[in-house]
C-alpha cells in the first residue's frame, strides 16, 4: 500500500535539542534553594542494620535532613526497598541525606555511623541450591513469576549425579513439556547435550538514574529518567504515597534504559520523599556511575543445560532445556520463561521439555535487559546448532532454515501452549540474509589464515515478543487545524514515540509539518500507554494511534454531515479537509471542524468520553475538553496470536590466535518487524543493537568476589561495553523482510531486542568457527578463553562458576 508517511524518513522533533545541548535530562533540573541528596549504601552483601547514628552527620555544615529505613514504607516479601534495614547486596541504599551542597551531603554521608550484623550470603545460584547453601533472603531462595517464594535445596546426590562440568538437575519448581520428548530423542540421528553459563551484565545506560523533585500546591513534581512516561506514573505515585492525580511528572528525555529504567524504580522516589521531609524544598539526587554498578540493575545470568535431538535432515525433533537463573536479590525479571519461549519459536521443536529454577543471590537486582532471556538463549543455544550441523554434515544456514518458522508468516507455534503468532518470517529473514551476505560463497573461506589471523563466520537468530494491546490513543485537532498526537510511551532514543505517532497523521492525511507531538510529561495530557520496553512500541502504539485517529476521522465525518447535510458516510478526508465524496468542493477544513467540535461539545470535544478508557486517559482528555476535536479510544482491535519480533544475523570475523583479539569485519542483520515505519530509525537500531550484542558476546560481565560478596566490575573499563574502535567502520549492515504483520492495522510490529541477540550469538558462532567449531559454553567469550582455546589449553574458569571471572 502506498503511504504518505509510513516507510519514509523524517526528522524527529527532539533530535536538534540533543545535538545542541538543550535537551533536559533529569539531572539538568535546577531550582533556587535546591538541596542535594546522597545515599549511604550497604558495605555488606547481606546484613541487618543494628544502629544508625546521624548525630555527627547532622553537625556537618549544610546538613538538612536524613531519611532512614523506618521513615519510608517498605515493600512486601522480597521486593526492592527504597531504603532498607536489611540490605541484601553490597551498595543497597540504607540511609539518605540531604544537604545544602553535594559536597556537604557527601561529607554527611561520610560522617554517618551505621552498624550492621553480617548475615550468610551467596553470589552463585548453585551454591544456594546446595543442601547447606545460604539463602540470599530470609524468606527463601527461589521465587519468580508464577513461582511462590520458597526454599529449594537439591540433595548431595543431585550434585553427585552430574558429571564433571555438567549442570546438576534437581527439583525444579517450573516444569512443562509438549510432544513426546523421549520418543524424539530415541528417533534422533544426532543428540547434542551441553551445560553452559551466561553472565549477568550491567545496563550501562549513559545517564545514571538521577532524579529531582519538589512539592508545591499539594502536588509532587518529579523529574525522572525512565523509558516510559505514562506507564511509570502509577508505581511512582505509590512509592511517593500520593494519588496519581497529585503527581506532576517530567520525563522528556531518557539517557538510555535498555530495560533498566522500564518504568519507575525506588530510587526515583527518594528525592520526592526527602523533599517532603524538607517541606517541599527542591531536592536533586545525582547518581554516580559507581552507584550504578552498586545498586543499579543487571541482566539475569544463567547456569543451564540443554539436550537437543536432531533428525538426519537437521530438523529439531526433541529439546530438553533446564536453566537456573540468577535473580539477584528480588523476584527479578522472568528471563527463564523467555528462554522457553525463544527456544520454542526460533527452533520450532517438535517436542520439548522445559525446567527452570530462578534463584536469589546477594547481587544487584536482575531487571529486564534488552532481550531478557531471549538473547541469552540465542547465545546459549545457537552454538549447539553449529555443533549439530557439523555432526550431521549439513550447512549451518541450512539447519536454521529447516527449523525456522516461515510458511507465509503463518506456520509458527509458540511456547508451552504451542499457540498462534501474529506473523513470523524468520525463515525468510535467514534466507534473505544468506543471499545478501553471500554466505555459501564466503563460508568457503572459513578458517583460512593470514599470519596469526584466522577467518570465521557465524549465523544466528533471535526472538522477542513485539507487541501488546488494550491501551488508549488520544489525538486532538485544534481550531488552527494542527493535529496534536498525545503519546505517553516514553522517549528512549529509538524515536518510535514519534514514528508511531505518524500513524495518526497517516490515517487523517496530515502534512507532517502540521503535526505536534505531545510527550514527555503529565503536563502534556498523556493517554494511558504501555512503556517503551519489550520491543512492543511499534505494534502497541500504532494500534492506539490508529484507533484514536479513526475516532477523530469518524467525528470529522459526522461534523461535516451536521454542517453540510447528508450522512457521515457521504464524506471523506482529503488534504486536511472533510469533503463530500461526490463533490470535493463541498466540505469544511479540519480547522473549521475543530471549531465546530467545540461548539457541538459532548463527545466531539472531550466532554463525553468512552467508558472503556483508562482513568489516566480520562483525566488527560477531560483537561483538554473544549479545546478542539478530541479523538480518543481504547485499542480493542482483535489480537489472537503472540506478536514475535525475529531477526537473523551473519558475522565475519578474524580471530588473532596469538593475542585472542577479535576483529569484527562485517555484520548483517535482517529484521522481521512487519511494515517498516521509519527506515533510518530501523537502520540505526539494527546497527547499534549489533554493537551492544557484541559486548554481550565478548566482553561484558558482572564480577563478584565470592569470598566477600563485593562487586568488582564497578567501572566502565572493568565492565567493558564496546567502543567505536571495537566495531567495523561501515561494516554493519541491515535489511528487513518487510512483510506486514497480520494483527496490526498497518502491519507493524517491534524489533528492538532480537537484533541484539542474533548479532551477539552470530559473533560467538563466528569466533568458534575460526577456532575450529563449537568450543564455548560460556558467555561472554572473553579473550583469555579464546587464547586458551587456540592453544588447546584447559580453560582457567570453573565450568559452571558464575558472577566471577
Amino acid at each position: 500500500m502506498a503511504y504518505k508517511l509510513i516507510g519514509k524518513n523524517f526528522t524527529p522533533p527532539d533530535i536538534e535539542a540533543k545535538v545542541t545541548g538543550a535537551a533536559r535530562f533529569a539531572e539538568d533540573f535546577r531550582a533556587d534553594g535546591m538541596a542535594h541528596v546522597k545515599i549511604w549504601g550497604s558495605k555488606m552483601p547481606n546484613g541487618r542494620v543494628t544502629r544508625i547514628d546521624t548525630s555527627a552527620a547532622e553537625r556537618v555544615p549544610g546538613f538538612l535532613a536524613a531519611l532512614v529505613p523506618d521513615d519510608v514504607k517498605q515493600p512486601d516479601g522480597a521486593g526492592q526497598a527504597i531504603l532498607s534495614s536489611q540490605p541484601r547486596y553490597f551498595g543497597e541504599p540504607v540511609v539518605a541525606v540531604a544537604a545544602e551542597t553535594e559536597q556537604a551531603a557527601a561529607d554527611a554521608i561520610a560522617a554517618l555511623v551505621v552498624e550492621m550484623e553480617l548475615l550468610p550470603f551467596v553470589v552463585d545460584p548453585l551454591e544456594s541450591l546446595k543442601p547447606d547453601g545460604p539463602n540470599a533472603f530470609s524468606g527463601g531462595n527461589v521465587v519468580g513469576s508464577g513461582i511462590d517464594l520458597q526454599t529449594v535445596k537439591w540433595s548431595g546426590r543431585d550434585f553427585a549425579l552430574a558429571g564433571e562440568g555438567e549442570l546438576p538437575r534437581g527439583n525444579a519448581p517450573l516444569e512443562w513439556s509438549f510432544g513426546d520428548v523421549e520418543a524424539g530423542f530415541a528417533a534422533a540421528k544426532v543428540i547434542v547435550e551441553e551445560s553452559f553459563v551466561h553472565a549477568s551484565n550491567s545496563h550501562h545506560a549513559m545517564e545514571p538514574r538521577s532524579a529531582a523533585a519538589y512539592w508545591e500546591g499539594g502536588k509532587c513534581h518529579v523529574w525522572g529518567s525512565t523509558q516510559s512516561t505514562a506507564f511509570a506514573q502509577p508505581g511512582l505515585a505509590n512509592l511517593i504515597g500520593i494519588p496519581l492525580s497529585d503527581l506532576v511528572f517530567v520525563a522528556e528525555y531518557c539517557g538510555g534504559g535498555f530495560g533498566g529504567k522500564a518504568g519507575a524504580y525506588p530510587l526515583m522516589a527518594l528525592p520526592a520523599l526527602m523533599s517532603k521531609k524538607l517541606g517541599g524544598r527542591p531536592c536533586l539526587l545525582r547518581v554516580s556511575r559507581k552507584e550504578e554498578y552498586d545498586n543499579g540493575y543487571a541482566r539475569g545470568g544463567f547456569q543451564g543445560w540443554a539436550k537437543l535431538g536432531f533428525r538426519e535432515d537437521g530438523r529439531l525433533i526433541a529439546a530438553d532445556v533446564f536453566v537456573v537463573q540468577d535473580l539477584g536479590t528480588t523476584q527479578g525479571f522472568p528471563d527463564f520463561n523467555n528462554v522457553a519461549n525463544a527456544t520454542s519459536i526460533v527452533f520450532q521443536p517438535e517436542s520439548m521439555r522445559f525446567r527452570a529454577v530462578p534463584v536469589m543471590t546477594n547481587t544487584v537486582p536482575k531487571g529486564a535487559q534488552r532481550g531478557p532471556g531471549e538473547n541469552q538463549t540465542a547465545n546459549m543455544i545457537e552454538p549447539l546448532f553449529d555443533k549439530a550441523a557439523a555432526e550431521l554434515g549439513i550447512d549451518r544456514v541450512a539447519i536454521r532454515v529447516i527449523n525456522a518458522p516461515g510458511g507465509g508468516g503463518k506456520d509458527a507455534k509458540f511456547g508451552k501452549a504451542q499457540g498462534p503468532v501474529s506473523s513470523a518470517y524468520l525463515r525468510d529473514a535467514i534466507e534473505k540474509g544468506a543471499e545478501q551476505f553471500r554466505w555459501s560463497e564466503r563460508v568457503a573461506a572459513s578458517r583460512s589464515r593470514d599470519g596469526s589471523r584466522v577467518r570465521g563466520y557465524g549465523v544466528a537468530s533471535a526472538f522477542h515478543t513485539a507487541g501488546s494491546n488494550g491501551f488508549d490513543g488520544l489525538v486532538r485537532i485544534t481550531p488552527d487545524g494542527i493535529l496534536h498526537v498525545h503519546t505517553g510511551v516514553g522517549n528512549l532514543g529509538t524515536y518510535s514515540y514519534a514514528s508511531t505517532s505518524r500513524i495518526a497523521a497517516e490515517v487523517l492525511g496530515y502534512d507532517w509539518s502540521r503535526v505536534v507531538l505531545e510527550y514527555g510529561g503529565t503536563a502534556r495530557h498523556l493517554p494511558w500507554n504501555l512503556g517503551q520496553f519489550g520491543s512492543n512500541t511499534n505494534f502497541t502504539m500504532t494500534r492506539t494511534n490508529w484507533v484514536a485517529a479513526m475516532d477523530a476521522k469518524a467525528k470529522l465525518q459526522e461534523i461535516a454531515a451536521a454542517v453540510l447535510g447528508g450522512t457521515p458516510e457521504d464524506y471523506e478526508l482529503r488534504d486536511e479537509r472533510v469533503v463530500a465524496t461526490a463533490d470535493a468542493s463541498k466540505g469544511i477544513s479540519f480547522a473549521e471542524a475543530a471549531q465546530k467540535a467545540i461548539e457541538m461539545g459532548g463527545k466531539y470535544s472531550g466532554q463525553q468520553l468512552p467508558e472503556d478508557i483508562n482513568p489516566m486517559t480520562i483525566a488527560s482528555a477531560t483537561a483538554m475538553a473544549g479545546s478542539g476535536l478530541i479523538g480518543v479510544a481504547k485499542d480493542t482491535l482483535p489480537k489472537v496470536g503472540t506478536v514475535p519480533a525475529l531477526s537473523a544475523s551473519f558475522v565475519e570475523v578474524d580471530v588473532d590466535v596469538e593475542t585472542g583479539k577479535v576483529d569484527i569485519r562485517e555484520c548483517l542483520t535482517v529484521a522481521d518487524c512487519g511494515t517498516v515505519i521509519h527506515p533510518m530509525g530501523l537502520a540505526a537500531q539494527v546497527r547499534s543493537a549489533a554493537v551492544m550484542g557484541f559486548g554481550l558476546a565478548h566482553t561484558e560481565r558482572h564480577i563478584y568476589d565470592p569470598a566477600y560478596g563485593r562487586p568488582n566490575a564497578r567501572a566502565l573499563y572493568l565492565s567493558k561495553p564496546y567502543s567505536i574502535l571495537d566495531v567495523p567502520a561501515d561494516g554493519l549492515h541491515w535489511a528487513a523482510v518487510d512483510q506486514p504483520d497480520f494483527e496490526n492495522p498497518m502491519g507493524m510490529k517491534g524489533i528492538g531486542e532480537p537484533i541484539q541477540g542474533s548479532a551477539s550469538a552470530a559473533l560467538i558462532c563466528a569466533i568458534s568457527d575460526a577456532l575450529g567449531g563449537h568450543l564455548f559454553n560460556r558467555v561472554p567469550v572473553v579473550t583469555d578463553m579464546i587464547i586458551n582455546a587456540a592453544e588447546g589449553m584447559p580453560q582457567s574458569h570453573k565450568p559452571l562458576a558464575t558472577n566471577t571471572v
Binding site: 545542541t20 559507581k290 567505536i724
Partner: protein
C-alpha cells in the same frame, strides 16, 4: 501482555503515605533558602577551616565553609566559556564539569561516569578536548572553554557536525551526544578532511551505550564535506 511487562520494582508496595508525617505543615521545615553566607562569615571559614580535606573532596565542589581551604582567597576567577567571560567563585577542588553545569547553568555537558571513561562531559579547552569531569576548573582558568552550547553559531545556525548528526540520525538517547559533537568539532577544526580511521580515533573517547557509532561516524564524514 505476553510476558513483556517490565521488570517493575515498584510492585509489592502497600498503598498509602510513603514517609512518616512530620506534623503540622512547616513545623519541622528546616532551611528553605539558599545557603547564605556573609563575606565576614566566609572569610572566617577560610581562616578557621585550615586544611580540612574530606575523602570525598575530589568528587565535586562546595560552598560550605568547612571545605574552604587556605587558598580560597583565590577562588574568584575569570573563566571564558563559549566566548563569554564569567567571574565565578570556584574552590580549588572543583571540576570543570561542575562549574559549567552548576555555576554557569550550562547543562548540555553531561556527567556519565565521573571518572574520565565515557566522554559525555567532553569540552574543548583552547581547542583541545578534555574530560571536564576530571579537569579542575582552576587548571583551565586561562583557557578558552567551549561546550556543546557554544558549537552552533550565535544566531542558532547549527554547525555542520550538528546538522550532519541530525541528518544521519546519529543520536539515540542523546546523553553522549554533546560529547560526540564536541569531539567531532574539535577534530574538524584541526583536520577538516579526516580519514575514516582518523575520525574513529577522534571519537574513541566517547562511549555510546546505544551503540550508534556507525551513525556518528557517518555524520562526521558528511560534516567534513561541508566545513
Amino acid at each position: 501482555m505476553d510476558g513483556i511487562g517490565p521488570f517493575d520494582p515498584t510492585v509489592g508496595y502497600p498503598s498509602g503515605p510513603a514517609i512518616k508525617e512530620i506534623g503540622p505543615e512547616g513545623r519541622h521545615i528546616p532551611l528553605w533558602k539558599p545557603l547564605h553566607m556573609s563575606r565576614r562569615a566566609f572569610l572566617r571559614g577560610v581562616v578557621c577551616s585550615g586544611t580540612v580535606i574530606a575523602g570525598s573532596a575530589y568528587l565535586f565542589s562546595t560552598a560550605s565553609p568547612a571545605r574552604a581551604d587556605a587558598r580560597a582567597v583565590e577562588r574568584m576567577i575569570s573563566l571564558t566559556v563559549n566566548g563569554r567571560t564569567h567571574t565565578v567563585d570556584v574552590p580549588p577542588n572543583e571540576t570543570l564539569a561542575f562549574t559549567i553545569r552548576y555555576r554557569l547553568g550550562l547543562t548540555g555537558t553531561k556527567v556519565g561516569c565521573n571518572h574520565a571513561e565515557c566522554g559525555a562531559c567532553t569540552v574543548m579547552a583552547d581547542g583541545v578536548t578534555v574530560y571536564s569531569c576530571s579537569t579542575l576548573t582552576h587548571r583551565v582558568r586561562s583557557k578558552e572553554i567551549v561546550t556543546v552550547e557554544g558549537i552552533a553559531a550565535p544566531d542558532g545556525t547549527l554547525h555542520p557536525v550538528q546538522q550532519a548528526f541530525i541528518e544521519e540520525l546519529a543520536p539515540q538517547c542523546g546523553f553522549c551526544t554533546p560529547g560526540q559533537v564536541v569531539s567531532a568539532v574539535a577534530l574538524l577544526n584541526k583536520n577538516p578532511r579526516p580519514t575514516v580511521d582518523e575520525a574513529r580515533h577522534a571519537l574513541s573517547g566517547n562511549l555510546c551505550r546505544c551503540g550508534a557509532y556507525d551513525h556518528y561516524l557517518r555524520g562526521v564524514m558528511k560534516a567534513a564535506e561541508r566545513v
